[in-house]
Subunit: 364 residues, 2 copies
């Protein structure tokens, strides 16, 4: 197994599109029925968040996200020899927790845009963002526990553990903003909590609902955890060099928010003239506006496109971009290797590999 | 069974003090160990919220609240014939959910004081209030589910249901602020969700962990639900006429926040000159400051003590104070009557009655 492959994998685009579509098609009706249980106006606010209606309440066909997690949860059930349907409550529960964290994180971080639209706190106010986030979290547990089985209890326990890590990761993310230096290890730990834990849970939850033992579930989680780290490394690349048309975010999005993401942290750790110059620039930026991304405006106001471009060029020159791209491929390789330790139908393994390939090369 | 008794019950003060103390003594070490699991700085923020440290991190012996819920959870286990210890994880889980809701509600409502101290969002900022609330909610499920038993799964399901009602109640509370009129029935429904549901869960959770069947648990919840409504009716009285020294809140606290609490709603529904005059005054107040308690300041600024006193006097003259006191006694009677439908040791029944008596006559 190569641990640092130098080329991106080739992706079976049609197979991945079909898997994502299946995840969406099978989980969305159950997700919508769950959201319909919420008392008004929380049902409306949640429907806006998911892109089912617009800010004025009219039906919309919004961008509900890539839906990688539901696709994984259904494959997870099949990996344990169960029908994909068995994974649906798990897929819905994971999506509910994911969206609970988006609602709260957007508010905490002051992010005004998500999926090309104003965030919930911008449209419906902070109180609704808090409240509907809480409701989605509770709903996630409800969906699983009302199955009333021993497996559902085990699945809920894993989901709870993942949710706690998600919260730990957000706490680390917030505290890192106020520090001048963050190590690459700290950044990876934070991203493992913020992104790895819930992706890992998506990959085990269907199997657990399908009766898999803990060893199988843990190995599937290892695949999911490293997949999550690959996913986040790519997200960090897109956060600086992504096409705003594709990502739905502003140009230089993570630089505007002063995020200590992997490319930045790796560039600062690299040493050399570009690394030092970047360090001086970011320290001066922080001094000029100590509130950084936590400010009400949410970004480093007054900077021109050229100034952001200069910072991005220094990150690239110091090697932060290439290191992060390599890291995505390293994590991809470790994820795919974990699949060999689980006994599962060859067709399912191939589909999990295809999804991992997709995660590394995606543009949004 | 009298449905509208006219006198408050006599309370066995020593027995109630012993029960509350036992609940606190048995649950606090487990609660502290649970909070210690949180990643920094969430552990510190939570310790501040619970009153274990002050705003500067020094050990404190703060007021952790009345601790009615832990006392009920232990009695709940005993009602099912189990040892009180069996109820401890339930007591801790319920306390965690209760405090999750306090952290988020104080932020949503803009409340600056709780238990004689600045609220978490005032001291540690809104992001920490959101994040630590989320963490306590997750921790509640974790504490129960790591027991790994079928009973723990059933207990978590009941706790999840109660939490959803809690959130529904907060949503109703927020939406009622923006409405000119709220019916007594709407107010009671909101209070049943906001206060009744979690108290009900406290009274069933120990029994469920002790192996009680669903019928027994449901009947115990009926006691808890009506106890919660009695509790909230008394809270609403204390929110207007309570002694600030005892309650830890400002004078006329609920009037400052324009809360549509039971005495207000009942007074407005009563008809007659005082009721009409009150309605005119409150409508004029709302017109002058449409943001009401949701404003940044959190209260109706610029009002004098005399103006609040005048409003309180009108509520009393219209009968809102007496109606609410009667309602507390009605709900108390229904709660106590529910206990007759559960087969339990006479000593435990007497203690549950004593706690119900206490709830109705308390001054804080």
């Amino acid at each position: 197994m190569p641990t640092a492959p130098s080329a991106n994998p080739a992706v079976d685009t049609a197979a991945v599109a079909a898997l994502l579509e299946r995840g969406r098609t099978m989980s969305t009706p159950v997700l919508r029925a769950a959201v319909d249980r919420l008392a008004p106006p929380m049902d409306t606010v949640a429907a806006y968040h998911f892109g089912w209606i617009d800010a004025r309440g009219r039906p919309a066909d919004g961008d509900g996200g890539k839906a990688v997690r539901p696709a994984l949860a259904l494959l997870s059930a099949e990996a344990a020899g169960a029908a994909p349907e068995v994974g649906v409550p798990g897929a819905v529960a994971v999506e509910l927790v994911h969206n609970f964290s988006l609602l709260h994180d957007d508010l905490m971080d002051g992010d005004e845009q998500r999926r090309h639209r104003d965030t919930v706190w911008k449209v419906h106010g902070p109180a609704q963002a808090i409240l509907v986030g809480d409701a989605l979290f509770a709903l996630a547990n409800e969906i699983l526990l009302e199955l009333g089985t021993v497996e559902a209890g085990r699945a809920t326990r894993r989901l709870t553990r993942a949710t706690r890590k998600l919260i730990d990761g957000q706490a680390q993310d917030i505290s890192y903003e106020h520090r001048e230096r963050v190590t690459v290890e700290e950044c990876l730990e934070m991203e493992g909590n913020k992104t790895g834990a819930l992706l890992a849970c998506a990959v085990s939850i269907g199997a657990v609902l399908g009766g898999a033992d803990d060893r199988t579930a843990d190995t599937l989680e290892a695949y999911g955890h490293h997949l999550g780290l690959a996913f986040q490394a790519v997200d960090d690349l897109l956060g600086i060099w992504g096409d705003p048309e594709a990502t739905g975010k502003q140009t230089w999005s993570d630089l505007r928010q002063r995020k200590k993401s992997l490319p930045v942290v790796a560039a600062l750790a690299a040493g050399g003239p570009a690394s030092r110059r970047l360090g001086e620039l970011l320290a001066a930026d922080a001094k000029a506006d100590p509130d950084g991304r936590s400010s009400a405006a949410g970004d480093a106001d007054g900077f021109s496109e050229e100034e952001f471009a200069a910072r991005a060029a220094l990150i690239e020159e110091a090697g932060g971009r290439e290191w992060t791209a390599q890291e995505a491929r390293r994590q991809h390789a470790v994820a795919v290797a974990a699949l060999d330790r689980v006994d599962m139908p060859e067709r399912i393994r191939a589909q999990l590999v295809a999804l991992a390939d997709f995660v590394v090369v995606r543009k949004r």
